[in-house]
Symmetry: C3
Subunit: 464 residues, 3 copies
């Protein structure tokens, strides 16, 4: 197999980046809050202070989300002993491309100013672009170590496109709510990745089995990713929630769900290992499941104990997934899921969609208040007559849309990626940075007799 990407990678990067510039030139402008005309806008609309600019409501959350995308996802995948460059580096590449394409795709659907045909962007668009890319990075987790960077860029191009469409259908057409993206981001992203991995099934992947695991320090690096995802997840689920109580409540619910998940993950990990020892794979991943599952309902009056309950079950289910379901998925369904995204994103995402549907359907004027109910579910304009029970049905429909787009889109893109033109690694070279990166010369890359001799030389540092 030809893993040479000398031509294809630069060409794809240049052509796509040039296209972005042209499309941004034609379509993208600042919105009224990031344009110098804000000063006039403020006066005309009697906005008393600059602090009312949406920037100040959302910027702290935006930066937290940004950290989750680049450090969170990137470092979570560094657990492989010899694929840390690919994990953090390709994550960086894919996300940097994806956010640009997402600004355009989501802009056309959500932020098009029909008076001049321009997409008007502000801080909320940046957050949504990061969100959109999260879906593609989740998918990357399933194929980590088995695809070329060019394939990842293709996956992202299609992934962002599909995302923007399903998001439009779920949020605008169905008018479902999904503040933290359990359906729109996690369910879609995970099934998108799993379907691609299914199409790209490698029967002889055990040729690189010796590299498909961690070493001590790579597991510590991965914990950087885990913790930044875990800590900033309240910002993720609250970033585009309603101003005021909406953001406030979403942060509280997520904080609690995640805390609960940690305890049940530890319990399950210890319970199901032969000697009661803990497995780093579970701690790195399943502890995050509660954040995924509370995404849709984060903005709702789920109540603090409701959040704890969601987190409780997700820790259990996700850890069981790593122990029992991942092997089943690989052996029976022929889905090789490097990072176990089925356990971290797919199942918790679906649970999140269901929790969202049920809690929406159960919403009452007593609990929410008349105004609160209207605000939380945006029962205004064309949706003024919708009631909670109906909303619950639309939430469930939204979940189905996310599933269909994920699975269908993934199969299609998987077939595209099966073409023998993308420079993907041979089975024996999977999970190995040597294929796509200049790796510094450590002892292991020198001839054996030298490696031995190196140990004879004091102060030989490359050995560390």
């Amino acid at each position: 197999m030809n893993t040479n990407i000398k031509l294809s990678l630069p060409v794809v990067c240049f052509v796509w980046q040039l296209s972005m510039i042209i499309l941004f030139g034609v379509f993208v402008r600042y919105n009224e809050e990031s344009d110098t005309h804000w000063v006039d806008y403020r006066k005309e609309n009697n906005i008393t202070s600059d602090i009312e600019n949406d920037y100040y409501f959302r910027y702290p959350s935006f930066q937290d989300v940004h950290v989750m995308i680049f450090v969170g996802f990137g470092f979570l995948m560094t657990f492989l002993k010899r694929y840390s460059f690919g994990a953090v580096g390709f994550n960086f590449l894919v996300a940097a491309f994806g956010i640009q394409w997402a600004l355009l795709m989501q802009g056309w659907f959500h932020s098009l100013d029909y008076t001049d045909g321009k997409i008007k962007i502000g801080i909320e668009n940046l957050i949504n672009a990061d969100f959109c890319v999260a879906g593609c990075l989740i998918a990357y987790g399933a194929v980590l170590g088995k695809v070329s960077p060019v394939q990842l860029l293709v996956m992202t191009l299609f992934g962002v496109t599909l995302f923007a469409v399903e998001e439009y259908i779920i949020l605008n057409v169905l008018h479902a709510k999904d503040a933290g993206g359990s359906m729109v981001i996690h369910t879609f992203g995970a099934y998108y990745g799993l379907s691609i991995s299914w199409v790209l099934y490698r029967p002889n992947l055990d040729k690189s089995k010796h590299l498909n695991g961690s070493v001590y320090h790579s597991d510590v690096f991965a914990m950087i990713g885990t913790l930044f995802l875990w800590m900033f997840w309240p910002s993720f689920n609250s970033a585009i929630a309603d101003h005021g109580d909406g953001q406030h409540r979403a942060a509280i619910n997520t904080y609690l769900a995640l805390a609960s998940t940690v305890l049940t993950t530890v319990a399950m990990s210890s319970l199901f290992e032969k000697t009661g020892k803990l497995d780093m794979v579970h701690i790195q991943n399943s502890t995050l499941a509660g954040g995924v599952a509370v995404g849709t309902a984060a903005e709702f009056m789920l109540s603090p104990y409701g959040s704890l309950i969601v987190g409780f079950f997700c820790g259990i289910i996700s850890t069981l997934g790593y122990i029992y379901f991942s092997p089943f998925l690989e052996e029976k369904l022929k889905i090789q899921d490097t990072c176990g995204i089925h356990n971290l994103h797919a199942m918790p995402g679906v649970i999140g969609g269901i929790v969202g549907a049920i809690s929406a359907a159960a919403a009452t004027n007593t609990v929410y208040g008349d105004l609160g109910l209207e605000n939380t579910f945006d029962f205004t304009g064309p949706f003024a007559k919708r009631v909670p029970t109906i909303q619950g049905g639309y939430q469930a429909a939204g979940l189905c849309v996310a599933l269909c787009f994920g699975i269908g889109g993934g199969i299609f893109v998987g077939l595209v990626l099966k073409l023998p033109i993308w420079g993907d690694p041979a089975d024996e070279n999977c999970f190995d940075d040597e294929i796509y990166w200049e790796v510094p010369e450590d002892e292991e890359s020198v001839p054996p007799i030298l490696a031995y001799n190196n140990h004879m030389i004091p102060n030989k540092h490359a050995d560390m």
Copy 2:
């Protein structure tokens, strides 16, 4: 000794998490700023904008504090060569449990709505829960590597309970101020941990001496913890300070105290090492002492040079503590303090309490302004007649309460933890992740002859 925690760890996690769910179900609800009724509350109280929601005053600081708790404390303890999983993993477990229990304990004391008997939570409660857990994580530093995760959970259960009571006495009964928790968090937490470590003294701990130290990369990992603690400490000390100038001033004071500490720490480290070389232990820990010591007075008019002076002396004292006092503590007082929390938290915490008492007693209307004095010290309601000198006395009393709760509580909990039922490691297995974690197979775990042969095989990566 039986280190098998297969039964006890899962049982404790499940039972406690279920208890949390039940207690949250009975007691915990959203407060008026995180409830959907906020929209009505705003109108009734003529609040002009959603940006007045306390969420926007405190959320950025909250997230910084959250990073300190999980990445800061967690990675600071990864310095041990072979206990990084335990450091960052058990820190994660303990904190995730502790914040839930703290929301309840602190809620009963501070946020109980007597009209309906419910605890009403918002962003400030989340910060306080993180603060409360910080006390327990400080204590973890003293016993790092020598206790089982079940013991840590028991330590946290009692620690949070004791914390909530001493906090209530100090802040509400004595009406002492302690924005950054020099007394309430650091003094209490440190003496709590040191007392536990005293009761759990291991005379034969040198059996695992070879693991009680760092390697090159584990010291770099620990610097991640150090720096995130150092950088975000201004947020820690200002997180629950008064809106406006209170938070602003607390951040400035902390920023300055910490900067000053770094220079004197470096100076002392170089001065007292034989060859003038720097010791990573000091850089990782003593550089933080200024943040601890400026905690109580952070909100006061300590003035910028005052903050520098506090930091100046704390860098000196803390580094001297590592050089002279830690060995004395271990040999003479039989207190084995793995992370040296006596130097980082105990002494600076007591200094912080004293600085707070003095600067409170010295407060004048000229410096503070009439309104400013009243606001800063909350001389309102039942405390309307209190004057600065009296306040200084109550501050000192607060410090004594923190010391008593720390030492007394620590001895009691130490005795509980001495029971032979908690699965703590044998002396020769301390500081070793192998006891509680599935550790990936690096070269050192394979038989010697294989390890040697591995070096003969090019591209053998686990070796790294």
Copy 3:
């Protein structure tokens, strides 16, 4: 050469820290927003809410900038296999000293209250102090591994002083705008460091060539620095921009420029390596060039596609710099630039100055609005009659000032640092932590026969 810093380092640290305390005592006070009199100030000035305190406009950005300074710059330099302690530790020391000296120097020029002769500080001063230190840390990149900590402190003392003067000339005298500091911070800092490195040229540096490179894990550590710089750069460029649309726009422009840079960096890295593989040096550094280059114009109406274009070219130029220009610089111009700051800061900084001049000169009332133009360029007071084309000229003049101060100041300071009193390492000891740090004993520091034998002992962990 005498690398003993046992006397000089402690003396310098103590004397300078004591001087800081005295100078702060004489000069530095809280400003009206961080003083307890804020409560009176609010009432007198009809400020309706505490949220109008500048603290809430800038604190989230401040903390992000703080992370860039300490973790970003610190970890970016950990890429060397055996100089990670020096990278992150000396960065810490230098920055902690620099921010104090910067508060004074910048305070005298910008925040002096002439009524009482005091410098009044608030959150914006803290950000500016961090900015000022950034210039010195950039310079550190050029001399990394080749100077002693005492030399670094001297470099910082002079660097901050020069910075404050050039900043005053550029921002106040010339009234040039430079929100993100392309000129003031990056151009100045980079040429300051390069000039010092030129004066300190070491013809026999290849004696320590074996240590002037990375190992696998040190490259992963460096990515922590890269990513935190990359992610928080929007906060850097917007931290001191105008409230409202200014900060909002600066963040958007930076976000986009950086995304674009990643793609062209990857493209160039792959294109110019023999086998199409990616080089970590480029990914770690050149991906940041867009953030540098968009600094000056971040606040302007550069428009989203303009930002993408800036990023596009900077990724190309910076990567080419690493491939062709750095070797040329070292061989022909005798400038040894350890971190390649010429490619990451110098060239992109100059580009940023030029982009700023052009976009200022091209500003029109149509694009900005009358009020917007006045606000963005502060065409008020003595500069009320200035027009965009003239402003463009002053911007260009500002760039020249930054260059002159950087080069002139660097040569002067380089000569000072050439004095044989600073304890700098011998050529064969460059890039080695052993000189200034107590390094934990790993296998490589024990005698060869022992090192060999260690591999014979199972469970020998120090080996990792």
